[in-house]
Symmetry: C2
Subunit: 223 residues, 2 copies
């Protein structure tokens, strides 16, 4: 039995990744991080997704990144952009993937799991530096110098199966695997019921993805 | 004005590092992590140390690593060894330095600081893999692919000024810089008042360090 830690945000991409990891035969331990994100509804979504897609357990770790701020997602004084911007957007959260991967690394070592899955993507993404292949490779290299498990001959492998897929391709893959995207939340300013704004970057990418995949968009929009 | 984030545990090493960073002219932002450590008294020590050694601010971030366990410091069912052991000891906390450095990375980016100081040491250390120079180099390389700041031309530098010093040399350096080691707590099973057991690995290394430095040991022992 191969065990894996799967980072699960509650969004579309990580739900697809969980389905892919399961299809590859992994016993999946889902990990979500409550970092004080504006779109807290994604955490409720992560609970639904982990159950629906067969994770054997799901942990939500709390870490208050609003103590640092510096992002539209962790500082209520910074508004979420509602039209496309150039460069790295205000929704970038400093070191978010590094923090989440470091927590996944800790749990993987305790579980004696040698695999971590995450839903980063370098195609239809938002310009975040910690979603690029060279970042993932550098994290894996660092992780294999960091842990007792790696030093003792059990190296860690990071899996980013969505890295080179478009949003439309991700959705088609998920639909093949039976993912019900209705239960996922992508919107950066989703309301408490998980209803989407329809205008933020994340909503725009998601909407275009369903259109490209020629799949009916099940997202509940409030506008 | 150069700003730096200094990881401060409340122990002997990181107190010395804060004094070194201040001597090098950095405006120091001290960061401690309450991860559910058995020796919680070190956090009270970190407050005293940050004030005494002139940090401009001090934040304590909570992250409950007892949810993962896997270490004598984060699982009350695993006893702290009271005699020297071979190999990586039970006090190793999976991915601890990676988690702490990732939090320091996040805060540094928000502060627009390009320097992080930490007290890892490869000489008189406990065999932890995430205290080795090759680990520190790999983390720095990863960090410089992770953040918006690095991508936009403001790379991060990790400083580990104790890396190649013996415990005795660290203590002599700290004494030169006016560090009062009485306010630091190293013991893995310090009591609520910060009194040391005198027999754990950390106590042993500390005691031997004062002896080698020919400095009177100010540690309050309870035995």
């Amino acid at each position: 039995m191969k065990h894996a830690v799967v980072l699960l945000s509650g969004g579309l991409d990580s739900a697809t990744v969980l389905a892919i990891a399961r299809e590859q035969g992994y016993v999946c331990h889902a990990l979500s991080v409550d970092y004080g994100q504006r779109h807290h509804a994604e955490l409720a979504a992560s609970v639904r997704v982990s159950q629906a897609l067969g994770a054997v357990e799901h942990r939500v770790i709390n870490i208050d990144l609003t103590a640092f701020g510096g992002s539209a997602l962790t500082d209520s004084a910074i508004a979420v952009p509602e039209s496309p911007t150039t460069g790295i957007p205000l929704t970038y959260v400093p070191a978010r993937n590094t923090i989440m991967l470091s927590l996944a690394l800790a749990w993987a070592e305790v579980l004696q799991a040698q695999d971590i899955f995450l839903g980063v993507n370098a195609v239809d993404y938002s310009g975040y530096p910690d979603c690029r292949p060279e970042y993932i490779e550098a994290f894996e290299r660092m992780a294999n110098l960091a842990t007792k498990a790696a030093v003792e001959g059990k190296p860690l492998k990071l899996h980013a199966p969505l890295m080179h897929l478009s949003k439309g391709e991700i959705i088609r893959r998920g639909v093949e695997l039976g993912v019900d995207y209705c239960m996922t939340v992508s919107c950066y300013q989703a309301d408490a019921e998980g209803r989407a704004c329809g205008v933020c970057d994340s909503c725009r990418l998601r909407r275009e993805g369903f259109s490209a995949a020629q799949v009916a968009d099940p997202t509940p929009y409030r506008n």
